[in-house]
């Protein structure tokens, strides 16, 4: 393996630097949560008046950063397993700051999905719209860091995959991107005429 051990230890032990927060190590008292929609259904994590950039060390499992994933929504994705102990602390941190006893997340085989906003469905071409995701529940009890993962048998997997697919299709990011399809189409036309993919970047 090509790596520098000291770099990895430093990354795991990172706590907080300004708006950069390690949710596994930092204190929930140092961040705040703001409502970003009028109905209060959308919450974001902030440090003072800036968006908090959470910093987490993972073991990557799937990377679709430069190209479209073969299945699912057209968005850049990075999936990875958060290291043990760091994961439990991360769950406790987010449940505490968002003040929820449990939350659903994009998890598949223990790997959390970090993704960008989805693009227009029309650009996906022949790619299927199936979403490979598994519903896993965050559970905390009071202020403790208890966590249960509801994955054990294949039966559970089949039963729990369906509702997540529906939920993802109602993702507010997706609705927002649909309204901007004209913008993406114009970008696509631009590339088609110039025959260069670098126009996007």
């Amino acid at each position: 393996m090509t790596l520098m051990h000291r770099n990895c230890v430093d990354a795991l032990q990172f706590v907080q630097s300004g708006r950069y927060v390690n949710p596994s190590r930092s204190s929930p008292l140092l961040v705040n949560v703001r409502r970003v929609s009028a109905d209060g259904r959308n919450l974001r994590l902030y440090v003072d008046k800036s968006h908090a950039i959470c910093v987490t060390s993972i073991c990557s499992t799937d990377s679709f950063v430069t190209h479209v994933p073969p299945t699912g929504l057209p968005q850049r994705q990075l999936r990875g397993v958060v290291h043990s102990q760091e994961w439990e602390r991360l769950v406790a941190f987010f449940c505490m700051v968002f003040f929820q006893p449990e939350m659903d997340a994009q998890l598949y085989k223990d790997a959390l999905t970090f993704s960008t906003k989805a693009g227009d469905r029309g650009q996906q071409g022949e790619f299927a719209l199936a979403v490979l995701s598994l519903k896993v529940t965050f559970i905390t009890t009071g202020h403790s860091a208890m966590f249960k993962q509801s994955t054990s048998s294949n039966k559970q997997v089949e039963r729990k995959t369906a509702p997540v697919e529906k939920a993802v299709h109602r993702d507010p990011f997706l609705l927002e991107s649909d309204s901007k399809s004209g913008f993406f189409n114009s970008l696509l036309d631009c590339v088609t005429t110039s025959h260069s993919t670098s126009t996007y970047l």
């Binding site: 990172f14 950039i53 959470c54 994705q77 109602r170």
Partner: protein
């Protein structure tokens, strides 16, 4: 495969540099070279993301979402 008309996610390469995330994190774009290609499976990656939480209209449950901003590759497996 189609290129994405979505803002690019910069992937930095810290495999061969002495890089302390805690000291240089705000200046990583100047300190680190870019990593070419997709990140191999099994790599040690530091990922930066914004966290949000929303109430789904479909199942009336709160969902957590992590929106990636950048990533730093600290190490890759020998064979991938």
């Amino acid at each position: 495969m189609l290129p994405l008309p979505i803002l690019p996610v910069p992937i930095y390469d810290a495999r061969l540099l002495d890089y302390d995330v805690g000291l240089n994190i705000a200046n990583m774009a100047n300190d680190l070279p870019l990593f070419e290609g997709e990140i191999p499976r099994g790599s040690f990656v530091v990922v930066g993301y914004t966290a949000s939480c929303y109430l789904s209209n479909m199942d009336r449950r709160w969902h957590f979402s992590a929106n990636i901003q950048w990533a730093i590759v600290m190490g890759v497996p020998l064979r991938f």
